[in-house]
Symmetry: D2
Subunit: 385 residues, 4 copies
């Protein structure tokens, strides 16, 4: 059997606290059983994902959803469960004041409020020891003329500049972009070009976050990944998959070949090396599937795609490419993709004291029954809380 | 000034009760002021739209959102306000049982429950005197393999057959299709072909409902309209507009030229004639704009597009088409589109005792201040209630 | 090692004569070496694909590109090389008369000419013994108003009716649809709904041809496949792959998981059974890659996807689906997809006296050098000839 | 009647020499009557567009399609006809050497050849006095793995750097981007982000060219326009319109409201001021419509959209935007769009000694009959020559 090349140990995948909470569409949020009721329970669930995969050592927080009075307690709780706190995700889209935007709102009072929230998130980063502030802005407009496109860019730049100045030496901004939703005509940060322009204006501690579900149909995401790595500005991934829009399905579920191509460009561009500073994060909604299982499967999907990317015969590929042999070059890539890496990963897990089959092991652990039985009363966590 | 051709009086636009309630995206429902708290208040708002436009004489209900103990009271209330009850919209997507589908669910108990709701809606139609049962199914699957595509079609056919058999002589099914959302891999009725196949299997009282926001990017909607009129199966429109997906913006706001082309095919295919049985309905979400104003503006947009369509010089168009004069034929259509029909519509309104400017007249009426002041306490209506 | 389930022997893939000729984009047709100069040489190339794969026993012809004075000679030549003549593809898009359409043209003279060509193709079918007449119409309009959408449908229906009446008992029409290109506003047969409507009007000998590159972005092709099989109207596939539009790349190259899902629905719906009458054809343009190799690889890709589809554990899948276990059901499908079937196919080939590696065997055969050396002088075949 | 605000006189629209030649799709190039046979005849046709619109004073050349032995003769001929030579468009996509790319080709010999062509184009600019070198690269790959994405960016950067160094003080590079076609997996300059990154690396004389048909579905083009103006890097437009892909229809034909929104952002961002250096160019293919008429109509469409943009009540718009009045702000924009500006433009033309109806005047001029009669013999110009 082919051996798994080195490199997979470098792959740490951060899971998001909100993936363990209830989520849904605008039509309905279906409540599931055993869902956490507070940030501590979310972290407990995230720790399960790491326990069975060995590859999800950190948990991203979302403020204010994960607001607690003492972050050192939360951090200690995480460590106790075998994980650590990760990126801080700001939320300036759920207050009634943000109907027409947050940092790009026409009203300076609301822009101030939103920027203050971002600054507060940096305070929280200081408390949690987080490196990354992930910024996703739902800001935008629904109707032509509703607000001035360019002025909103200026306002956005102002807010980012203020937040950037507040960052510590080891802290970063990850600026996410998204084509549409919830804004339906203009989104103020719709594409990687816009995000990159702002990052370039800010400085080296601002990098782009690529959410794999946030592009126009037909967009070549691996091209963007290669370009951002070339420009030294790929800060993070928000992984998920989609057939149509921002479906937030399990990464690799809709187009596993695309995920492989993305991970190939990461490997090719040196992005798997921890020194590159690329954060690999999941950002998904498990609307119909069990949440912990969904996260485990997603981590496995990223691992499998990465393992295949690591198997690409770089020398053979380059030789075929340089020789202009289109089909031979494509075949080198496909040979890696067509390989069944599941046995290799099973071995990799066993060598690290993990069960070869994380899903089966998790199911057998009884954890799910335990949380269904134990999490009685209280209010289940969701996007709103 | 050009005179407005006959035909506009045939255009009656039904507004949906839920457009007056709060709505939003999965990220946030922003509450607005003065929002109705029950079906009666929704109808009161809908009556305002008709009062100022003279073109919105009916209101669609959504069950269970608009469930009342006595529909004859609701109907009488409507008449009192100058409007009538319209189509009944079934809802089989918000009960916790429907996590994996309603009439296509793998579990026969849940299919039964969903079908019973549809039958109950026909009971309500009997009570309200409604002609149309509008069926939109959120049914579908998120992951390949989650359920069997074809079996779900069979289940759907079974449910529709049962409901069809229950219809009275003057009642119809309007079967809506939608590409995606809330299902993200397969939607069980994703396109007009699927809807039409089921309608053909059912019989003449089943027709297709075209929601203008429910198509894949690049779909030519007016072609579908022309084809359904040719097949005698265009039952209704759910009007709205979109830049990306099912954005549910005001109809005509995103692409007024498309709306004109659609209305041109309606006129061309005889669909404006009441005997054609085409129902013109709005189905929109006013997430950021005032709701009553949004409906008034939408009605006006449909009227303007229709007026332009009626202005097309049919003889000149046909002559240019038959002569193969591409640019002359296109110019005939564009001449109508480029015409500013607002003065014609102002005159049309004044001739019918309406204010020439419905938005200004509504604003001046004080109704909005009245409902903001009066609707204190209680729970605002939304999609969930 | 897993054994390959029965069924793969039922899979016969027809290659198109024009895939061996030069092709390109509107910007440039790059000539390749060794390209055939007449239909006989195309068939010689197609025979190579069958010789090395054992799965491509027939060759589709395109009229007039493959017009010969005596089709029995061409048929005998094919048999001599180990293959047979397949479907006849009509061409009503390259005569100067067809600037504004063929069977839907405003001028009855040109409609007559186009319909006569289709009838001539049935004559050729009689001579070649072909079962299938594949009809793809480039007909459409570029500008709103250029011609009447509905009238063109009527004209199309008239032409199809005339051709249908001319079919022999064992002959069929395969009616292809395509979203756009070369028409850019309306295509007269843009989607499966339109094709199916015409087929239903014609009768049982008219079925739909699904070209996998002819859909709007986001269209779920396997859903269409399942629906057409359910309706008994899936006549054929034109296989290729695409990232954007009708890219005509090698099937399985852009989204191998999609091809697997399609083949799964074929297997699930009984479409692999020869009695189902589904024709599996390639329709691709090898603009930058060697043509014969491209065809071999494409046949292999379809075989691999089919082998994976055959490996799906149907009982386990159904159990998980019926139990509403979303992730287990998805996992059953993915288990099959993630399997590396290449060793199974190697064995399958060896059992049938073929080389385990068709590409390597073809390369080693010296055929390519032979045609490069031998096909000197004359005019290379292309789309125009 | 509303008066047309100042600003329209600043709008000069460059027409492309190749729009007067034959063009088509990969399926067929339909020859038209009276088509030019050399660059001089193309300029004669372009001069007609200016004669009747007064707004198309320059003609873009395409090298080698418009190669002549003495460019001063061509320039003098243009002046004689009342127009001037405009941008030089390089062509590195039609030589057989460019099968796998030009400046990004794996083979350094071919990269050298391609770069030399670009340098030759600057020589021609020196001869013609052209300011702008428009670079569109068809470079890309069709299959994953075919070549290395990032290495191709490096090669592209090297070629651009060499060409940039060759530019005179008053010369510029306009770097065009395009999502896909003729490359189908990766295009080396697929979006504005990539183009801008290269421009930023080059220096102030490199700017982005926005072709309105080169985006992914759903892309908000006016946002890009606003962003590039804000960044000081909007160099030019290639105008055309599309329903699906790069359809190259007459600008404004597919979505006139979009064209209005684009021109509004141009006006809003100061791009209409000649000092902004934004070049307004047409780049279209008149496959089915008469070419000179098609250009005249296109110029008129841009003028009408610009006139509407100039009519926007900026103060009212800003007031509504600042007040957060979504519908009022949208209404201000729509008021301008809904205005029929054709009478205003008719007056504008008459004031400048032009006919109020350029199309009718052109038709009445007899020019078309003249070129049909006169251009006998020779080879019609097309994309290939």
């Amino acid at each position: 059997m082919t051996d798994l090349p080195a490199g997979l140990d470098d792959l740490a995948i951060e899971t998001p606290s909100w993936a363990y909470a209830n989520s849904g569409t605008r039509f309905k949020v279906f409540a599931q059983k055993g869902v956490p009721r507070d940030p501590f329970e979310k972290i407990a669930d995230a720790a399960q994902v790491h326990a069975f995969t060995g590859a999800a050592p950190t948990v991203a927080l979302h403020i204010p959803w994960d607001k607690v009075s003492d972050y050192s307690l939360l951090a200690a709780y995480a460590v106790d469960r075998g994980v650590r706190l990760g990126a801080i995700n700001a939320n300036v889209f759920q207050d009634d004041d943000y109907l027409l935007g947050s940092v790009t709102h026409p009203d300076p009072r609301i822009r101030r409020k939103a920027t203050d929230h971002l600054l507060e998130c940096v305070d929280i980063m200081d408390a949690t020891g987080s490196r990354d502030l992930k910024l996703w802005f739902s800001d935008g407009i629904n109707y032509p003329g509703q607000d001035d496109i360019r002025t909103r860019q200026d306002r956005l730049g102002d807010a980012l500049t203020e937040v950037y100045a507040r960052l510590g030496d080891d802290q970063r901004i990850l600026l996410e972009y998204k084509l549409f939703e919830p804004a339906f005509y203009v989104t103020d940060v719709p594409d990687w070009g816009t995000s990159l322009l702002h990052c370039l204006a800010l400085g080296p501690k601002a990098t782009v976050c690529v959410d794999t579900g946030h592009h126009a149909p037909g967009t070549n995401i691996e091209f963007i990944v290669a370009s951002l790595l070339r420009a030294g500005r790929l800060g993070a991934f928000d992984f998920n998959s989609r057939f149509y829009a921002d479906d937030d399905l399990m990464v690799g579920a809709a187009d596993p070949f695309q995920l492989f191509r993305i991970m190939y460009e990461v490997v090719r561009g040196g992005g798997l090396d921890p020194s590159a500073g690329v954060a690999f994060m999941l950002d998904q909604c498990h609307n119909v599937e069990p949440k912990i299982q969904g996260q485990i499967r997603s981590v496995m999907n990223v691992q499998e795609a990465t393992a295949k990317a690591l198997l690409v015969d770089a020398a053979a590929l380059r030789a075929a490419q340089d020789g202009g042999d289109v089909l031979a070059a494509n075949a080198v890539l496909m040979d890696a993709y067509d390989t069944d890496v599941r046995p290799l990963l099973a071995t990799w897990r066993e060598q690290r004291g993990l069960d070869a089959d994380p899903i089966a092991a998790y199911k057998a652990s009884g954890y799910f029954d335990e949380i269904v039985a134990g999490r009685v009363g209280g209010t289940q966590a969701g996007w709103g809380a």
